[in-house]
Every structure is written in structure tokens, then in C-alpha cells.
Symmetry: C2
Subunit: 358 residues, 2 copies
């Protein structure tokens, strides 16, 4: 069992049965336990928990509808109504079992119900394990705007058992790998290279690599929990990535990681155009990413719609669009002001390239 101290709580990486989960559940004797999952949550994982932990045998189960369009206040309100009907008190316990959608929404549901009840996160997607499991961010979308509503609040514990990763579809693994690539790109060329290598041999999943990526995120979050400075680096790829994701919420659904991967390519290109990143490093990044994440084809109208969403990014300040840029592989800086015009040109570069190829 590998244990990481993450803010106020512990994250345990290893088999559930060897973890402290049974002891933690024991602290909530007499409390109602509520499992929140979604239709995508690994059946295997959910039934394993219910079957193997006595404390969960009588747990209520709430299933959230899947899809970013359902990561909404309306659904959260419905769940709050259900909690009221069940007579859930602030001394009860919520256990979120699923991907980032479940842990983000479930965390928000728990944090605001009766001004906060305890929750445990059991991420079942690679993305959830490497990203949403650390940092205390909870939230839902507001229309097209990703995670516009939420709070910072820590779970009481996080449990990760990678055995259930084998049930994940490939695109979900790719979504997680995108964030792991990001952890390398913003802190370490070696880590980046290890993730690239892992993606070449997906059948042999390295728990050590996952652990190192979690440690990277955890180190950054601990140094700046409320994102006043260095934590902003974790937003690399996310300024443009979130806009792409927001634009696609109601049409083609893409995974968060895929949108971030495309965002990272475009923000790396922007870094190169500003002479911060060398052509060589850019080529390394671009070829590594394009191998697994194909560049989507956006019309001019699409590009306009996507770039207009940049104006409402959470990271903006006083009307300025702020973005992370790379100064090398492993070297990320933040709070760069970028313009809609500039981002439009980056999109057009790839659009023209695609037209030339056709």
C-alpha cells in the first residue's frame, strides 16, 4: 500500500482490502452511507465495494446520468432532494465511486448539503486517479462553462485500486494519459518520456508511474492550495482545452483528456510562436501527442465559437485571458496574457495544415 499525504487527507494506492477503508468506514457506525456513481462507473468496482465491505452492504446508491451536459446544477439539485428524502444528516457519509464527473459532482453535493458532510473518493478512471483525486476541487458546469460552480473542499480519504483500470475503454485510458503527459510537460522531461513510453505499451500499466504523477500534482497543490501562484501550472493545456470541451458539450462528446491534449498542442504552438519554446521541443511534443490524439477539424464558425468561450475562463483576471505557456519540456510558466486573435491564428494554422494535407 502506497500512502500519499494530500492536504488534510490521505490517498492510498493499492488493493482496497489492504487499505484503511474498513477502519475509516468503521468511524461512521450508525451513519447512513450513500454511494454516488454514474452509469459509466465500473460495475466490477462498485459491486466489489458493496460485497466486500459490510458497512456498505446497506448503502443507498445514487446513479448520476453520464455526459458533461448532466454535470449540472439541475442534477445536483435533484440529488439534494433525494438526500433530503432519505433524511441524510451532516453526520452521514457520501462515497463517490467513478470518474472525474462523479468525484467532482459528488464532492460538490457533499460540500454544500447542510453546509457540508464527509465524503470519500474512489476514483475508477485513470483521469480520476491522476487528476481529480488530488486538489480538493469540486464542481459542476454552468451551461457551456466547465466547472464554473464549485468549492475547494477535501475528501476525508481517497482510495485507488488500479486493478479496476483493466475494465476501462481505451479512450478513457487516453484521457488519463493526457493529464499524465501534462504532469511531465510542466515539471520534468524524464517523466514526460516515461509517460510517452507507457502509452506505447499500454498493456503493462505501471503503478509506479501513476504514483509519480500523483506525487507531482500533490506537490504542486500543497505548495499552493488555493491556486494563487504555482498551482496555475496545472492549467497548462486547459485554457484552450476547456474552451474546446465547452464548445463540444452539446455535440460530439470528447473526453476531458482529449480536449486537454489538443489544448496542450495548441498552447505549445503558441509558446513556440512567442519564442519561448524551441522548435525542436515543440516537434517532440506535437509528434508524441498527435500520435494518440488526432487534431479535430474545426470550421471558421467553430473556431469563433470556441475562442469566444475563452473570455469566461476561470483563470482570467480583470477581463484578461490568462494562459500557461512552456519554455521547454518540464518548464511551465503561467499568467501569460493571450488574445482571442492569437488563439484564432493557432487554430487556423492547424486548419490550413489539414486542408493542405487533403
Amino acid at each position: 500500500m502506497y500512502t500519499i499525504q494530500a492536504g488534510s487527507y490521505q490517498l492510498e494506492l493499492g488493493p482496497f482490502l489492504e487499505s484503511s477503508l474498513v477502519d475509516v468506514l468503521d468511524k461512521y457506525k450508525g451513519a447512513t452511507k450513500l454511494l454516488i456513481a454514474d452509469e459509466n462507473t465500473s460495475e466490477a468496482c462498485l459491486s466489489y465495494l458493496i460485497t466486500n465491505f459490510d458497512a456498505l452492504s446497506k448503502a443507498e446508491v445514487v446513479i448520476l446520468p453520464v455526459g458533461e451536459e448532466n454535470k449540472s446544477l439541475e442534477i445536483v439539485g435533484n440529488v439534494w432532494d433525494i438526500l433530503s428524502e432519505y433524511g441524510v444528516t451532516r453526520h452521514d457519509l457520501i462515497i463517490n465511486v467513478g470518474g472525474g464527473l462523479v468525484t467532482d459532482m459528488g464532492g460538490f453535493i457533499a460540500s454544500c448539503y447542510k453546509r457540508g458532510l464527509d465524503f470519500i473518493n474512489v476514483p475508477t478512471s485513470l483521469l480520476g486517479m491522476v487528476d481529480a483525486s488530488i486538489g480538493g476541487k469540486t464542481g459542476v458546469n454552468l451551461g457551456d462553462f466547465k466547472n464554473q460552480i464549485g468549492v475547494f473542499n477535501d475528501p476525508v480519504a481517497v482510495y485507488i485500486d488500479t486493478i479496476f483500470l483493466s475494465t476501462l475503454p481505451e479512450e478513457e485510458m487516453l484521457s488519463g494519459y493526457a493529464e499524465m503527459l501534462k504532469h511531465g510537460l510542466i515539471t520534468s522531461p524524464e517523466l514526460f518520456a516515461r509517460v510517452v513510453e507507457q502509452m506505447e505499451e499500454p498493456e503493462e500499466f505501471s503503478e509506479d508511474l501513476l504514483r509519480d504523477c500523483i506525487e507531482v500534482k500533490n506537490g504542486i497543490v500543497i505548495s499552493d492550495p488555493l491556486e494563487a501562484g504555482p498551482r496555475k501550472k496545472l492549467n497548462f493545456g486547459h485554457t484552450i482545452g476547456h474552451a474546446i470541451e465547452g464548445f463540444l458539450i452539446y455535440s460530439d462528446q470528447v473526453t476531458h483528456g482529449y480536449a486537454v491534449a489538443i489544448g496542450m498542442i495548441l498552447e505549445s504552438f503558441l509558446s513556440m510562436k512567442r519564442n519561448l519554446l524551441s522548435q525542436e521541443d515543440f516537434n517532440t511534443i506535437e509528434s508524441a501527442l498527435l500520435k494518440h490524439y488526432s487534431m479535430p477539424i474545426f470550421s471558421n464558425d467553430d473556431i469563433q465559437a470556441i475562442t469566444s468561450l475563452l473570455n469566461n475562463d476561470k483563470k482570467n483576471k480583470h477581463g484578461k485571458i490568462l494562459c500557461c505557456l512552456l519554455e521547454g519540456i518540464g518548464e511551465c510558466t503561467y499568467d501569460h496574457e493571450i488574445s482571442v486573435q492569437e488563439v484564432t491564428e493557432v487554430f487556423l494554422h492547424y486548419k490550413n495544415q489539414q486542408i493542405n494535407l487533403n
Copy 2:
């Protein structure tokens, strides 16, 4: 200017122009300022702020609809949409100007928008000054359930100028006095007597008394910010009071303080029935309160509906209804388990009394 250190922020009691408000606003140069008020907010106070503080001259104003039924997720969602339209970022500032509804909702709106932006509270009702101004509680109702959804989060500062109290209708003053009576009942017979006296001479409002009541609440909150123990005393009168308020949300609107006053009479009666409170102390409390707050007439169906709401009180634990009781004037204890049956009998006592009087 009287200054109280309340958790992470300062509360200033005195004329706005002599307060630190101008300096605090100065720290938000370049930020969008958003004033949140409701239709009941003292016009005089709102226009005084906009006219006298340059930093607020271009502030956006959002007016919330009045009434407990509008203290809802739906209205909060609408305001979040407006903030998105205005392009408000997490570096901007919300200033809540109004009664408890405005500071509770405005605090929640600020706390969850983009995971939290700064807010200042300017309570304009006596209830807001003495109660909502301290303690970091924010929230909205969920259907009939009062403040079911919310978070604990402190404003950056609170400013109270009692000059604007003179514009308040009498029932609003009575609503504030009820919480002040509570502060006496749970901590000090002297303070209780002073509030009773103040209510006899309402035209001479004592800022010292207000200050002392705020200090009582502040002392309790500082000793137990997350309501794990002693802070529960502040809920005296609120177990039954909230149920009455919830029941009346959609019919006769009553002020929060009126519901709490009735709740305090009934919970005092319960305390006496359990031999915790002497008949003499009970008589003192009952006669002082009934002088200003008349006992409503509830039908048997009403009583059943009210008591059924007790099962969803935020203070409950593992399905038990918990309540504060008095062991004397100034002596409050908490976490007493009470039953629906017991509360029903208390209601019936007053109902029978009314029938006998008629």
C-alpha cells in the same frame, strides 16, 4: 468605530465613512464590483454607498426577489448566469447589502462562483447585523427546508452602520430583537433583561447592546467555528422555529425572528416539562416574549405538518431530532434528543390554551 475580530475578518460597527471600507475597496482596483441587494434593502443605504464611495459608482447592481420562497437554487443559478454574462472573474468583488436573505444568498453565490470570489457584507436589517453578520454561514433553502444548501465561508469584511435602522419596519426590528433575546437566554440573565428593556423603549436604540449581542455570538462562533459543540447553543429556538418557518414559507410569511421567538417559547416549555427549567424562569421568558410575539393558532393538520419537518433538521444525527434546551435563563445545553410526539404535545398545550381563552 468599534471593531470586532470575527474569525478571519473584521466587523466594524459605526458610520460607513469612518470605516475601513474605502481602503478595502481600494485593494480591488480594476476589479468589477457587484452589489447584491433585494427589493427590501434600504434604498437610503444602497444609494448612500454608491454615492459616497467612488469605487462603487460604476458597480453593477443585482436585485434579488424578496421572500423565503425565492431563497432558492433557481434564483442563485440565475445570478450565476448573470455573473457569467458580465464576465465576472474570481478576482472581482461582491458586496451584499441587505438583510439575512441577501447576505446568506450573496455569500453562497460568491463562495461557489468559480470556486469562490471575495465578498463584503453590509447588513441593513437588525437581524442581519446581530445574526447573519457573524459566523460565516451562507446558504439557500431547498423546498421547505431552510438553509439546507450552503457552505461555511467568511466575508472579507462586515460593515454595520445603525443609522439606516431607522428606516426598518417594526416587524423587522422585532425579528432582530428575537435573536438578541436568544443571545441573552443562552448566556446571561443580565443581557436578556437589557434586551427586554430595549424593546420597551424602541425609539432609543442602544448600539452598545447591539455590540454586546454581536460579541456574544462572535465568542461562541470563535470557540467552535464548525458547530461541533458549543456553537449548537445558537440554535436555541431554531429546531421548532425552523420547522414553523418552513411550514409557513408558502402561505403566511413570517419573519425569521418571529418564528424563532415562537420556537424559543415552545422549547422553553419543553425545557420546563423535562424539569430542566423552573416554572418561574419559564414564566419570565414566556411573558416577555408573548408581549411582542403572539402565539399563532395552528390546526391539528398544521401541527402534524410542522412536526414532520423536524425530521429533516440540519442538527439531527443518525435519525434523531436534536434540540437545545434551557436549564435557566442564561443556561443553555444542546444535543437533547426530542420526539415528534413531545413537540406535538407542546403545540397542543398552546392550542388548548387558546381554545380555553376563546
